[in-house]
Amino acid sequence: MSTLLSLRHLTKRFGGLVAVDDVSFDVAGGSIVGLIGPNGAGKTTVFNLITGNYRADAGDVIFENRSIRKLPTHQIVSLGIARTFQTIRLFLKLSVIENVLAGCHCRMRSGSLAAMFRTPAQRREEREALQIALAELDFVGLTPHAEQLAENLSYGNQRLLEVARALATRPRFIILDEPAGGMNDQETDNLIRTIQSVRDRGITVLLIEHDMSLVMKACEHLVVLENGAKIAEGPPRQIKSDPKVIEAYLGPEEDA
C-alpha cells in the first residue's frame, strides 16, 4: 500500500511547551490508523498541524506527495483531507441538512452572481449537493433528523453529524478527533461499523481515541504519543504489550 500522508519531524511549540516534538509517521492509503496517548500528549495538536489550523515550527506534512504545510485550511480540505473536532463544532443554529451542505461547499463552483440569476448550472449544482448531503446523512443514519436544528441532536448524533459533514467534502483522508467521546457502548459499536464502512469506501482514516476497546477493534496500526513525542508505533497487539506504552498510557488505566 502506498503512503497517503506522511509527517516528517513535525514540531510545534506553545511558548516554552513543546506540544509536538519531532514527530514522524506515515499513514498508508486505505488503512485505519489510531493516534493514542495520555491527555495532553499532543494528539489534537498534530491534527491541527495537518489541517493547517496551526503552523508547524519545524518539519513537514506531505499529503499525496506534496507538502501542505503552508496551505490554508480550506485548501487542505479541497485537496481531500476532512476532519472532525474533539470539542464538537457544529453550526448549532442551523439545520442538520445545512450542516452537511457545508461540507459540499468546496466541491461546488457557483458564486453570488450565479445565485442571483439562478443559472441552470447553479440550480443543478444545488440539487446535486442536496443529494450528496442526504446520502451522507443516510450513511451515518441521521436521515430522520434532517430538518432538526443541530443543537437539538443528542451528543452521539452530533458526533455523527460532524462525520457526515466531513464526508460531504468527498475526502480521500478523514481525521477524527475522539469520535466516540460521550457515546454509550451501543453508539460506540455503531460508530466502529461506520468507521469501517468509511474505509471500505476507499477513504483512509486517522483517529484519536481514548476508548482502548474501540482502538483495538477498529485500528490496524497505532501511533503512540507521550509528552509530544512518538514513543511507539505498530499493530495494536504489539502496542498493547509494549512496556513503554503500558507505562505511559495503559498502565494507569489498568490500575484503576
Binding site: F91, S95, I97, L101, S110, G111, A115, E125, A135, D138
Partner: protein, 319 residues
C-alpha cells in the same frame, strides 16, 4: 408554507402599491425614506445579519455612492440613471480596498474600525477633499433621474422608483440567501473555525459580503442624491450607520421581512408619534432595551431554510 409566504409578500406589495392613493405627498415622502432605509438595511443585512460582521460604517458606502453621482452629474452632466451602477461600483471598490485589511478583526474590534471609517469619510467630505466635495455645504443642483424618457420629480414618482428598486433587491437577495453563497456566510457567522474546516474560504466570503453590501449602499446613495438634488456630509454621519445597524438587529438578523419591518418601525413610528416629540425617543430607547433582553433574535427572525428532501442515493454511487 412556501405559498403562504408568497401570499404575505403579495398582499404587502399590493397594499404598498395602492397606499399613495390615500396619502398626501408628505406621507408618500415618509414611505420613500422608509424604502431607502429598507434597501440600505437589506444591504447591511448581508454583512451584519448573514455574515455576522459588526460593521457600523455602512453610511460611508452610501455617502460614496451619493457623492459619486453628485460630482459626476454636476461636473460632467452624465445622466443620473447611468450613474446608478457606477455609484455602486465605486462603493464596491472602496469596500474591496477598505475591508481587505480589517476583515480578520473580530466583533468589537471590527465595530470600532468601521466607526472610524465612516467618520474619516464624513470628515474628508467636510474638508472638501480634492476640492470636489463642496465641503460642509455639500453639492447642489443634482439632476433628476430619467427612465424611458420620463423624468422622476414628484414624491409619487420616487415612490415607485424606490420601491421598485426595493422589490428587485428583495428578489435578488432572497435568491442569494438560498444559495451556496448565503449558506457560506451563515457558516462563518456560526463558527468560523468549523467553516474553514469544512472547506470554506471564510476571508473570501467576508470580503464578498462587504463588497455586495457596499455596491447596494452605493446605488441607494445615487437614488438619494437624485431625490434630494442636494447632498451634504451630515446626511451620512455616524448616526445614520447606527440607525441601519439598529434596523437589522431590531427586525431580525438575516431576515428580509424582519429588516423591512425594522425599517418601517424605526423610520415610520417616530413620524406617527411626532406630537410626542421628546417622549418618542425615550419610548424608542426602552423598546430597544427590552428587545435586547427578551427577543435577542429580533422581531422576525428568519425561519429555518427549507430543502426539498427526497429519496437519497447510495453514497457509493458517486465514488
Amino acid at each position: 408554507m412556501k405559498t403562504q409566504r408568497q401570499v404575505t409578500y403579495a398582499v404587502c406589495a399590493a397594499v404598498l402599491l395602492i397606499a399613495p392613493a390615500f396619502l398626501n405627498s408628505y406621507w408618500v415622502d415618509v414611505l420613500n425614506n422608509v424604502g431607502i432605509y429598507a434597501i440600505l438595511s437589506l444591504s447591511l443585512n448581508i454583512i451584519l445579519g448573514h455574515a455576522g460582521l459588526f460593521h457600523m460604517g455602512h453610511a460611508a458606502f452610501y455617502a460614496l455612492g451619493a457623492y459619486t453621482t453628485a460630482i459626476l452629474n454636476t461636473t460632467s452632466g452624465l445622466p443620473v440613471i447611468w450613474l446608478l451602477p457606477l455609484s455602486g461600483l465605486v462603493a464596491g471598490l472602496a469596500a474591496l480596498v477598505v475591508a481587505r485589511p480589517i476583515i480578520h478583526l473580530r466583533g468589537d474590534y471590527l465595530l470600532i474600525v468601521t466607526i472610524g471609517f465612516v467618520e474619516i469619510v464624513r470628515i474628508a467630505l467636510i474638508n472638501n477633499i480634492f476640492g470636489i466635495t463642496g465641503g460642509a455645504n455639500g453639492i447642489f443642483g443634482i439632476d433628476r433621474p430619467e427612465i424611458l424618457g420620463m423624468k422622476i420629480r414628484t414624491p409619487l414618482g420616487f415612490f415607485y422608483f424606490i420601491w421598485g428598486f426595493a422589490a428587485l433587491t428583495i428578489f435578488l437577495f432572497d435568491r442569494l440567501e438560498k444559495s451556496r453563497f448565503g449558506r457560506a456566510l451563515n457558516y462563518l457567522r456560526e463558527d468560523e473555525v468549523a467553516a474553514q474546516g469544512s472547506g470554506i474560504d471564510t476571508a473570501h466570503y467576508k470580503l464578498v459580503a462587504f463588497v455586495i453590501g457596499a455596491v447596494w449602499a452605493g446605488m441607494v446613495g445615487n437614488i438619494f442624491a437624485a431625490k434630494m438634488t442636494i447632498i451634504a456630509p451630515e446626511s451620512f454621519n455616524f448616526w445614520e450607520s447606527v440607525v441601519l445597524f439598529m434596523i437589522v438587529l431590531l427586525g431580525g438578523r438575516g431576515s428580509i421581512p424582519g429588516v423591512i419591518l425594522g425599517a418601517f418601525l424605526v423610520l415610520g413610528l417616530p413620524e406617527l408619534f411626532r406630537q410626542f416629540a421628546t417622549a418618542r425617543m425615550l419610548v424608542f430607547g426602552a423598546v430597544m432595551v427590552a428587545m435586547m433582553i427578551f427577543r435577542t433574535e429580533g422581531i422576525l427572525p428568519p425561519p429555518p431554510r427549507k430543502y426539498p428532501l427526497s429519496r437519497p442515493t447510495a453514497p457509493g454511487d458517486r465514488a
